[in-house]
Amino acid sequence: MTEDTRITTTDPPGRVPSTGTDTVVETSALTKRYGDRAAVDAVDMTVRRGEIYGFLGPNGAGKTTTLRMILGLIRPTSGTVRVLGRPAGSREASASTGALIEGPGFFPYLSGRANLRTLARHRGLSDRSVEEVLARVGLVDRGGDAYKSYSLGMKQRLGVAAALLGDPELIVLDEPTNGLDPSGMADMRALIVELARSGHTVILSSHLLGEVQEICDRVGVIANGRLVRESTVSTLLGDAVLKVRGTPVHRVVSIASDLAGENGFEIDGDSVLLDLPPDRAPEVVRALVAEDVDVSSIGPAERTLEDVFFEMTTASTPMKGA
């Protein structure tokens, strides 16, 4: 019997049997053009099983178009997307995917619970599965209220509940913390981490870079339709650098240039950041003292995801008139 046949006849709606690969999403030269403009340009992206993948990019960079292609909602102009080894949008891929894309979409006249029951009926899921996801997002008590009466945060949580229906293996969440208060954001982050721990794969698109840095295993950064970087968060942040404060600054800069090279340092306010490992601090201090520099402080400095994000997206964004 073929694997396809087993899938369509014996498996519950939410899960497709593992394809034996650790790759859950794989795009190859994925491109979407609108006229002459490439919204997504030759993106090669890989999401591995069980990880939280942060998908970052400025507004209009091509994030949502890419996510929609992964979900089979938009057809690529060229290139391929495979989800769990199947073409995106195929029945098998869709059955194992849950998503919240560009805000929740529900019937305003129905209650939150009835909205989820409608979706559950479309997919042959039980009303019990609806109660389970309502409980996971903390909406059991308000599940009977009309959707149109929900706050923005509650609507967002209902959208996440819809994505969790059927316990899908891949969960795509586009700005899931939009409209949530700080406590709701913390709960949502905890939920995402818990989902990954229990074997789900999560693609998280968010503008809250601190949030992404905190919970994501790997990130992909897209700018102007191109994937400019894909790596683990720690690799992306790079090694810690040395941060030196001393006077006079021009001597600090001169020594930094000697030790780290012309491109190996940058001035950050009244400090100088040297692209050197922290264990070379004694050597740097000796050189500074030898040149009569008064050293106020020296120590390791870590970059934030925000720093890296701005470096990459600014570098790849052409300036007006350029």
Binding site: M1, T2, T8, P108, A114, R117, T118, L119, R121
Partner: protein, 297 residues
């Protein structure tokens, strides 16, 4: 087991699964539609108008001896006959080509269209596009069937009551006539409903498709029929239009265009039947092609 046998089992399993998933989507669509006030308002308006134009106006004209636009020129005896049980087949269909069709066009457009403005199709289409769409079309078919059945029941209740009030003999229509009438009403409704659904799928906007659809059904076709009497080319084209087909099909059941708005005898009954059926098929196929081929934004 041979490969061909395996494939055959696989195909039949797949067919059963597809059938089941469409049935699930039908259940889902009926579940959400039955709680939708807009659906009940549209259907309720049909029931109200069907009873008002089918029974209230003719009966008031009969009892008062006055004539309105829908009863003008009818002899008194004919007015009474038109509200008795023997005329149920005529009353059942006479409103379908004009205001009935327009209301079901609105219904079809609303069922398809609000999913785009509320973003619900985006949510549903994440797990397949064609099956939920077929489910929604089937839900429309079920609602239309219920509309026809309930209309027939209402016609029976009102006409039997009026026969009793007027001490007239209770002559019920033949089952054959009733079925022909119900089938005609169903086909005309489904034609306008699927056209509304297809229009809305194309426009991805309920408001635009409802507006265009109503202007077409209530204004443009009537104007073209008027122009057609002077221009042969326009008359030839008019014979293929949905309103003409629906009006002619109803006219074939009721015995020709008797002045009832929208009921005409431009083309023959069999040709009207083929044209109405063709419009349903084209509307459904167009909807399927649009849903499958276009991006969901």
């Amino acid at each position: 087991m041979s490969a061909s046998t395996l494939r055959s089992h696989s195909d039949s399993d797949s067919l059963v699964l597809r059938h089941n998933t469409v049935a699930r989507s039908l259940r889902a669509e009926l579940y959400r539609l039955r709680a939708w006030p807009a659906m009940w308002a549209t259907v309720g308006t049909w029931f109200l108008l069907a009873m008002v134009f089918g029974y209230v106006f003719p009966y008031v004209s009969y009892t008062t001896g006055t004539a309105g636009f829908s009863t003008e020129g009818e002899p008194t005896e004919a007015l009474l006959r038109s509200v008795l049980p023997e005329s149920i087949p005529d009353v059942l269909v006479q409103g379908t080509p004009l205001f009935g069709g327009a209301l079901v066009l609105v219904l079809g457009a609303l069922i398809a269209g609000n999913g785009y403005s509320w973003g619900t199709w985006k949510t549903v289409f994440t797990h397949g596009r064609l099956r939920p769409t077929i489910g929604a079309l089937l839900a429309l078919a079920v609602i239309v069937a219920a509309m026809v059945v309930v209309t027939a029941v209402l016609c029976t209740i009102v006409s039997v009551s009026l026969a009793a009030i007027e001490s007239q003999p209770l002559t019920m229509p033949s089952a054959d006539a009733l079925l022909r009438s119900a089938g005609t009403a169903y086909l005309v409704f489904m034609m306008w409903g699927t056209i509304g659904f297809a229009l809305c799928t194309y426009a991805r906007s309920a408001a635009l498709s409802v507006g265009l659809g109503l202007v077409w059904t209530l204004v443009v076709e009537n104007l073209l029929r008027g122009v057609g009497s002077a221009l042969q080319l326009v008359e030839d084209v008019t014979a293929f239009l949905p309103g003409t087909a629906a009006g002619s099909l109803v006219g074939a059941v009721t015995g020709g265009g008797d002045g009832t708005p929208g009921v005409v005898d431009v083309i023959s009954g069999p040709r009207a039947l083929i044209t109405v059926t063709a419009y349903i098929v084209v509307a459904v196929v167009t909807t399927g092609v649009l849903v499958r081929s276009r991006d969901v934004n």
